[in-house]
């Protein structure tokens, strides 16, 4: 299994995603610099967290124009599993591969802490090994994770079952306190219409080893590996 981790100038969780894929899970992984035009035969593509281009304009706003994004878009259109984590999620929204946008957290402060999300759907390549309603303990680390979309988009996301993760408490309940950033409908992660592109604000790659405080993020990686194994690998 080969993972590609896209590196934009200002990406800073690229090493973390690479480490999780390569050293924790034991798969092939490769960094792909944003100026490159090929994904080097990767079967899974990750847009990692960080502050691409410093996030001085809007988060993710400039990265969508990087040369590599053409290949990423083609990969997504061909049905390849594409995961955007944190800033990667923001880039996917700016690139219109996912709908909606991420605004500043409701308290205007950066939040780094372990939170809980509930798995809402298991029919994506990144959640098929999870169970519906399963509560995952994952870290967040963002200042702009407040998910918004217009009412029609939101309605479409809900009716098509495209909300994949919601912020919840330890028992899986959706409460205001459990929503760290004010996201509409407690949305922590969504997928596209064809369900192969998933974006989320929490960091599953930071939750793959017990010494880091949680291994709940592994299920996303295990899922995509299982999904590819069962479907026959898709090569970019």
């Amino acid at each position: 299994m080969k993972f590609a981790v896209i590196v934009f100038p200002g990406s800073n969780c690229d090493h973390d995603a690479y480490h999780a894929a390569k050293h924790v899970l034991g798969h092939d992984a490769e960094f792909v610099w944003h100026k490159e035009t090929s994904l080097k035969g990767a079967e899974v593509v990750i847009l990692p967290g960080g502050f691409s281009y410093g996030d001085y304009l809007r988060t993710g706003a400039i990265a969508q124009f990087s040369p590599v994004m053409t290949a990423v878009r083609e990969f997504a259109m061909a049905g390849g599993p594409l995961l955007g984590i944190c800033n990667g999620f923001q880039v996917l929204c700016e690139a219109k591969l996912l709908p909606g946008a991420l605004l500043r957290n409701k308290d205007l402060k950066f939040h780094c802490e372990h939170i809980r999300v509930r798995v809402e759907q298991t029919d994506t390549p990144f959640t098929l090994r999870a169970t519906r309603g399963q509560v995952l303990k994952l870290p967040i680390a963002h200042g702009e994770g407040n998910y918004v979309a217009d009412p029609a988009t939101l309605e479409a996301l809900e009716s098509q079952g495209r909300v994949i993760f919601r912020y919840c408490d330890a028992e899986g309940r959706l409460t205001e306190e459990a929503n760290p950033n004010g996201s509409l409908n407690a949305i922590a992660g969504i997928c596209n219409e064809t369900r192969n592109v998933v974006g989320l604000m929490p960091h599953p790659e930071r939750a793959c080893e017990a010494p880091l405080g949680s291994r709940d993020g592994l299920v996303l990686f295990d899922s995509v590996v299982a999904s590819l194994a069962s479907s026959g690998a898709l090569t970019a």
Binding site: P9, G10, N12, C13, H15, D16, H19, A20, H23, W33, K35, G49, G50, F51, Y53, G54, D55, Y56, K109, F110, H111, C112, E113, P139, A141, G143, H203, E205, R206, C208, E209, P211, L212, G213
Partner: protein, 744 residues
């Protein structure tokens, strides 16, 4: 320019004597550009002219020391062919004038010091001191706190280096002069440390990074003067940080350092281009010639004076091998950075500055770097000491234990700092194995079994009451804190924050503190590998508490045996290492409950401290401990509460020896050389034997379990409170100051 008058000298922070020295060093009168260059290089901030004679006495050598003071940062050997590179630095003055940018650029500066050495920065910490958040200046202080924390977060989070811990204190003397001390640690191959030197006549000198603007001119001079009500006008001397630019610089420099095209590199921090060129030249015994026309500029019409003194951020100066220019330029191109060749290494030892070919300054590098005046300033013991040390606790009423505990837990200095560290990305790079707020910061070293623990500590009140002992206690506490994580202390860095050294009382405090650090570091075998001195921390003639902040780095051989402060499970034995004495002097109890800062700080027997630290490390390595927490601020009662916090409500039931002490002393005395540890029942006898062999008093005092915090003294219950209520107060206190509904 030939007429140098007194006003011009004063604007440059130079004395007439110093001017005479400059004339002697040059053999002629300096022109204005040269005068400016001397003024920044001979400022207190860059030259350490008042502190140097004292700093020389610090122990800087040790079997693990790879790099002591004198380079951009110190380095120690951590095994597996790796080095830990670390340093602490202050950014006090800029943070008061412009909190967000002042703190942010402080973080940027210390990160550059680390990667300049060839190390990848992997952890940040900070030590912060502010005035009280209530009272007449409370609103301003809260704004400063918000700005400083947001600035640290904004820079560290963006560049992707975790801020893994630190300390924050709130005391009246920091009201007009907060302290922002930032620490960074990086990892490098031990045989690949990069030096800040110029060598090889004819080698090109490159400038890389942000363009030069007029920001920060005379920043180093500003940091070498007291504050008064005109300080706000100095805002233009504070720089603006660009963490994205620095991230690119960091990655590009580390990529360049993998090859062998680089001779030396230095960041342009305080005193900017002047400092980088003259220091690199002086270290290599070479000259450097540059033409300021080639320096990338952000503004038009900048004079050579402005270009040489600008402290614009995120700029590096590099000397590379002649013939390898293309390779170097390609690496910077990849990162969208422009590397401009601004000059060349020469053999004459001179810093020669030209402007479109016309000579505008020519100064021997050593004159700027090594020939700054060294002052052995007069010292005298301050008169206030006799007054504040005269302390008799007997007339003070003994406070109700539960009320006192709750009030101390709610004191901002002791309260939960979650509101702060939640704003810092403390997990990025997936190495943080003790999360922020849980004890010393600990990062694992990927590819090895090891981990590094780090702690920054100081206590202004102790320093005020006894500068020497206060500094010793800071070393002891930082070393003890890393030992509580299971780490052997292997190196230290210091940040010395004091008032105006031209006042004999301040100079005496400084000298005493340095003596104390030296004594403690020698006794604990923890060499000082570098650091920073910040003087003139005064506003309107009022000095801060003399504050020595010590950062200690410790090594854990087996990361799986790392410890944090929190209780781990029901029914573990709780053991107190060390003894409690009648030592309420300078304590949090005395300040919070009785509104007094007086008495003597706790005594420190360095032999006992060393025995305790060694015991903690040995017992952690043997796997005998389940948790460990240093017993300091707030005494044993607060320490036990902190062990129980963040556990989801795991309380404890203990019985302490009263030792004939007053109830408040038994609970809140801050005697040194103590720790609270827990162990599985089956390991207690081995642990006690190990303690006995080490000569450390150790006493099982109770067990973890239940939902209450129960502390008895000699069998009589002194404190029995609901743990959740205690934790709620501890957790809500700091955050409360920043809630939209906060009422003064």
């Amino acid at each position: 320019m030939s007429t140098v008058d007194a006003a011009l000298l004063e604007r440059h922070g130079l004395t007439p004597d110093e001017y005479e020295r400059i004339v002697a060093a040059l053999g002629r009168e300096p022109n204005l550009t040269e005068l400016g260059m001397f003024s920044v290089m001979w400022s207190e901030h860059c030259s350490y002219k008042s502190s140097r004679v004292h700093l020389r006495t610090l122990p800087t050598a040790g079997r693990r020391v790879l790099q002591g003071p004198g380079e951009n940062a110190g380095a120690v050997d951590i095994g597996d062919g790796l080095a830990a590179v670390f340093k602490i630095e202050s950014h006090n003055h800029p943070s008061f004038i412009e909190p967000y940018q002042g703190a942010a650029t402080g973080v940027g500066g210390i990160i550059r010091d680390i990667f300049t050495m060839g190390a990848r920065p992997v952890a940040l910490m900070n030590s912060l001191r502010f005035g009280p958040m209530d009272g007449p200046h409370g609103a301003r202080t809260r704004r400063i706190v918000e700005g400083v924390v947001a600035g640290i977060a904004g820079y560290g989070n963006s560049i992707g280096i975790p801020t893994v811990g630190g300390e924050i204190a709130f005391e009246e003397p920091y009201t007009g002069n907060p302290l922002v001390n930032v620490f960074c640690l990086g990892l490098s191959r031990a045989d690949a440390l990069v030096k800040g030197r110029a060598d090889g006549v004819g080698n090109p000198v490159y400038y890389v990074g942000a363009k030069t603007g007029r920001d920060g001119i005379h920043g180093a001079t500003m940091a070498s003067a007291e504050f008064d009500d005109t300080s706000a006008e100095k805002r233009p001397a504070v720089q603006v940080g660009d963490p994205f630019m620095e991230k690119l610089l960091l990655e590009a420099c580390l990529e360049l350092m993998k090859g062998d095209a680089l001779i030396g590199v230095q960041d342009m921090g305080a005193a900017g281009l002047t400092c980088a060129t003259s220091e690199m030249g002086a270290r290599g015994g070479r000259g450097i010639e540059i033409d300021v026309r080639h320096v990338p500029q952000r503004e038009t019409g900048m004079t050579p004076y402005e270009i040489m003194l600008s402290e614009s951020q995120e700029r590096m100066l590099l000397v590379v091998k002649k013939g390898r220019e293309r390779e170097v330029e390609e690496i910077f191109d990849k990162w969208d950075l422009h590397a401009a060749q601004v000059g060349v290494v020469t053999g004459d030892g001179l810093l020669r500055v030209k402007d479109r070919g016309t000579l505008v300054a020519e100064i021997p590098n050593v004159a700027l770097v090594d020939e700054a005046p060294v002052y052995n300033r007069p010292m005298s013991r301050p008169a206030y000491l006799d007054e504040v040390r005269r302390f008799d606790p007997s007339p003070l009423p003994v406070a109700d234990p539960q009320d006192a505990l709750f009030r101390i837990l709610s004191a901002p200095t002791v309260a939960n700092k979650r509101w702060v560290y939640r704003q810092y990305d403390h997990m990025v790079r997936t190495n943080t194995i003790v999360l922020a707020g849980m004890g010393a910061g600990v990062v694992r070293v990927k590819g090895t079994s090891r981990a590094l623990a780090m702690s920054v500590d100081g206590n202004g009140r102790y320093g005020y009451l006894d500068p020497r002992r206060g500094a010793m206690l800071a070393v002891a506490e930082a070393a003890r804190n890393v030992a509580c994580a299971g780490a052997e202390p292997i190196g230290a860095t210091n940040c010395l924050n004091f008032g105006n050294p031209e006042r004999p009382e301040i100079m005496w405090q400084f000298a005493e503190a340095v003596q104390g650090i030296g004594e403690a570091c020698r006794a604990l075998d923890v060499p000082i590998t570098g650091g920073n001195v910040s003087l003139y921390n005064e506003t309107d003639g009022k000095a801060i508490y003399p504050t020595a902040v010590i950062g200690v780095v410790g090594l854990i051989d087996d990361a799986a045996l790392t410890l944090s402060r929190t209780f781990r499970g029901e029914g573990d034995a709780i053991v107190l290492f060390g003894e409690t004495f009648d030592e309420l002097g300078g304590s949090e109890y005395l300040k919070t409950i009785h509104a007094q800062v007086s008495g003597e700080p706790p005594r420190l027997d360095l032999r006992r401290e060393r025995a305790l630290i060694e015991l903690l490390v040995r017992s952690a390595r043997a796997g005998l401990l389940r948790s460990a927490h240093d017993c300091s601020d707030g005494g044993v009662a607060v320490t036990l509460a902190e062990c129980a916090f963040d556990t989801g409500g795991l309380g404890c039931d203990v019985d302490l020896p009263a030792g004939g002490l007053r109830e408040d002393a038994a609970l809140f005395s801050e005697s040194a050389s103590r720790a609270i540890v827990t162990a599985a029942e089956a390991d207690v006898s081995s642990l006690l034997q190990m303690a006995a062999r080490a000569g450390v008093p150790a006493r099982p005092i109770g067990r973890t379990g239940g939902a209450r915090l129960r502390i008895a003294l000699d069998g009589r219950l002194a404190l029995d409170c609901d743990l959740r209520e205690a934790e709620r107060r501890w957790s809500a206190a700091l955050e409360g100051y920043f809630s939209p509904t906060y009422q003064v």
